[in-house]
């Protein structure tokens, strides 16, 4: 049953402020970017090229495909891991334990600490020449025979490197690179606080009676998490999944601060690639926009798939 136009007015009124702002500063740039992608575009319009930017990206640019693969690896490597860790920690922090407000503060700190400071710490963690924390850990684990790992500067495949270390030839596995894995670790660390805060908000919003009822029924620990918390939190988790997938595909800062030294492109995500087209190359803005539109479409389709596959299982009270 469709609501009448008149009955819809209330809804339109309620969404007006948001739609106005987002329409002007969100939808318009989308169309603008789409428009630019049909042109050779330096800082201003140069000439109409039709589909050329798109066909160049899709059929003639190995860098584009490489950046796409890097982006996909990045999303696969960060989103599920972050969600899982955050779910465990949020559940722990939701319990009545001593000092939980301090824990909450601390777990949120990486998200609010300036990225420059965060990058400096992680640069030290991944410092090469056996001087960083990661190298020290490795030396501690393996004794004197630990290799001199280059971490975030190393564009070789992480699996190939593991194989080399174990004496197997896996050099065909060139992706994902060790550099990219380092970026992922950083990114998980950085965005954990964001996930935890949202999950805590979700947990707090669950009516206490429901959780208490579950406790009376004798559900504890894992069982409680699996059969009570998980379904009750599912709207929040579903939301987080969508949002963090979108964020993973759009990630820029993490890569920029961690891996701008990895010049061979093994950790260059699509947004980083677009950034280079826009600000570090000459006359590639139109092409950058075409890549951005392709990225946009990919995120759109991915979100569609996610809502189809997972959205139905979400449980609303």
């Amino acid at each position: 049953m469709k609501p009448s136009l008149l009955a819809s007015l209330r809804g339109y009124g309620y969404i007006a402020p948001a739609v106005l702002v987002l329409g002007v500063f969100g939808v318009f740039p989308l169309f603008y970017g789409f428009y630019v992608s049909w042109f050779d575009w330096g800082l201003t319009v140069e000439r109409f090229v039709g589909f050329a930017n798109y066909s160049r990206a899709l059929f003639d640019d190995a860098d584009f495909w490489r950046a796409l693969r890097v982006t996909v690896y990045y999303a696969i490597g960060t989103v599920p891991v972050t969600m899982a860790i955050a779910f465990v920690i949020a559940n722990l922090l939701f319990q009545r334990i001593r000092g939980r407000s301090w824990y909450r503060m601390i777990y949120f700190l990486p998200y609010i600490t300036s990225t420059v400071a965060a990058a400096a710490v992680w640069r030290w963690v991944f410092y090469p020449h056996r001087q960083g924390l990661a190298s020290s850990l490795l030396a501690w684990l393996m004794g004197g025979g630990a290799p001199d790992v280059q971490w975030v500067q190393d564009s070789r495949g992480v699996i190939a490197l593991l194989g080399e270390w174990m004496g197997m030839d896996l050099s065909a596995w060139a992706e994902p690179s060790l550099a990219l894995v380092c970026v992922m670790v950083f990114s998980i660390w950085h965005s954990l606080g964001f996930h935890i805060v949202i999950m805590l908000a979700g947990l707090t919003a669950i009516p206490k009676e429901l959780l208490e009822a579950a406790s009376i029924d004798g559900a504890t620990g894992f069982k409680r998490a699996r059969y009570v918390t998980l379904p009750l939190l599912s709207p929040t988790l579903f939301f987080l999944l969508l949002i963090s997938t979108i964020r993973a595909f759009r990630t820029f800062n993490e890569v920029y601060v961690m891996a701008s030294g990895e010049t061979t492109g093994s950790a260059r995500t699509l947004t980083m690639y677009i950034f280079q087209c826009f600000y570090e190359s000459e006359g590639k803005v139109g092409y950058g926009c075409a890549v951005a539109c392709l990225l946009f479409l990919m995120i759109l389709l991915l979100t569609l798939v996610q809502t189809r596959l997972i959205g139905r299982r979400v449980h609303y009270s």
Partner: protein, 472 residues
């Protein structure tokens, strides 16, 4: 789904205010205007802290000397930020009179047709520079500001110029049995070996495309053909440069420092490594480190080594100033400031305060400059080496070639064979400098069309049907 009661008074009040706000947003439009009687010349730059103070002094001196022009220096941030702010400003026609920019940035601006060439002012008999004054400017500084793609016009002017230099810890070299800087790359490698025997590192290497360019020059090579069409990384000179890095890394004589850090300075100052290669502006920072750490390290700098039997050569660094098309009066006023900035006194002051090179030969003869050079031998090294400096090409796409170069250097540092890297670099650079023409008749055209259309139809269908999320 809930169907609420009729629209009530609260809601009506709210709706009314929303409409009022929309109206207000549409009406608020107050373009700022602030024209005084003096012509205002805004200059966007990226000099901060002490360097900005020095720049401000020069600007103030200019403003005090002129009643008709007022120069406003505005710090924008590092170069990427500067470019990010300039890009929309150019689109909106809101450029400043002057901005500091690298050659590749200037090329982008020139493509958009917003750059005013300096030739029109420099050679103007009335307001330009005299022939003697023009010849007083180090010619390489002017050359680097000519753009072959834009009629060889001078689209920018030297601002913060420096050159690639080699720095070395003399104490460490002496301990290894050497008392002077290496002349050739073979000597350099040999000295690194001797230093390594002491248990120290030879060369603390920071990956930088300009360093590779400089090395190719020092092997007597070129990086681009005379007609600016063909990169020359397949030539023996380029291979020799990469081979040198390969040997140094392979024998453990050089190590790569993490990107974005300046740990090579610390390593050389503290005697952990013997050499580093960087811009000539690094000198003051080394001196400062030594002072702050309370060390007595004896160090010096020299032009980078060269290949056996080749002439000394190094590469020119640094940013330039670029003038935007604004109005004849403002452009003219901007030129007056540029002229002031490169006057011997001003450029000498700028050089002494920042470590950049003075742009004029006569500036180096001034008593204050002579005193500065006499104070420490390191102070005059860059000037002595300037005669060997060559410019990097500033052709379209060179910025992308530089990225490929950095990538190649990193690959060699990672143990890939130099020959293979050089071949790949040449291929990439060729593709960048001669981009394939993408005609709408491309083989992929129809397939591309189909894919994109499918994606859009699919996306639109989804938007219309599902609205983004599953309804419970």
């Amino acid at each position: 789904m809930m169907t609420g009661p009729r629209i009530n008074a609260d809601e009506r009040r709210y709706f009314r205010s929303v409409c009022a706000l929309i109206l207000l947003w549409m009406l608020i439009a107050a373009p700022s205007s602030g024209a005084g009687e003096r012509i205002e010349v805004a200059i966007w730059h990226s000099q901060s802290m002490e360097k900005r103070d020095a720049f401000r002094e020069i600007v103030d001196a200019f403003n005090d000397s002129r009643g008709d022009i007022f120069v406003k220096e505005i710090y924008i941030g590092p170069y990427t930020q500067l470019y990010q702010k300039l890009a929309p400003a150019i689109r909106a026609g809101r450029t400043p009179a002057l901005a500091v920019a690298y050659e590749s940035m200037v090329s982008s601006f020139a493509r958009a047709g917003v750059v005013a060439a300096f030739d029109d002012y420099l050679y103007d008999p009335r307001i330009g520079l005299s022939k003697e004054s023009r010849e007083d400017i180090f010619s390489v500084f002017l050359e680097t500001n000519r753009y072959p793609r834009f009629g060889n016009r001078m689209l920018s002017f030297p601002f913060t110029k420096s050159i690639l230099m080699m720095y070395y810890n003399l104490d460490l070299l002496r301990a290894a049995g050497h008392d002077r800087a290496p002349e050739t790359w073979d000597e350099f490698t040999e000295m690194c070996r001797d230093v390594k025997k002491l248990g120290r590192e030879g060369y603390a290497l920071s990956v930088d495309p300009s360093t590779v360019d400089g090395m190719v020059f020092s092997f007597g090579g070129e990086v681009i053909s005379a007609d600016h069409k063909r990169p020359l990384f397949d030539q023996p000179e380029a291979l020799a440069a990469l081979k040198t890095i390969e040997t140094l890394i392979g024998e453990g004589l050089a190590y790569r420092i993490p990107h974005g850090t300046y740990h090579d300075r610390e390593a050389v100052v503290a005697g952990r490594a013997a050499f580093l290669i960087r811009s000539s502006t690094t000198g003051p920072y080394l001196a400062r480190n030594i002072r702050k750490l309370g060390l007595k390290t004896d160090w010096d700098m020299a032009v980078i080594p060269h290949g056996r039997g080749c002439k000394r050569s190094t590469v020119l660094f640094g940013a330039n100033i670029c003038m935007f098309k604004t109005s004849p009066e403002v452009q003219r006023a901007a030129w007056e400031f540029v002229k002031f900035f490169i006057s011997p006194e001003a450029t000498a002051k700028w050089s002494m305060a920042t470590g950049y090179l003075p742009v004029r030969k006569s500036a180096t003869k001034l008593p204050q400059m002579q005193a500065f050079y006499a104070k420490a031998r390191q102070n005059r090294r860059a000037l002595e080496a300037l005669q060997y400096a060559r410019r990097e090409p500033n052709v379209s796409g060179w910025q992308d070639v530089r990225r490929a170069l950095a990538s190649a250097e990193a690959a060699v540092c990672q143990g890939e064979p130099a020959e293979k890297v050089a071949r790949k670099l040449q291929r990439e650079a060729e593709a960048i400098l001669n981009p394939p023409e993408h005609k709408p008749t491309d083989a992929g055209f129809l397939a591309g069309l189909a894919i994109i259309a499918a994606m859009f139809v699919g996306g639109g269908y989804w938007l219309a049907r599902r609205g983004g999320t599953a309804e419970a």
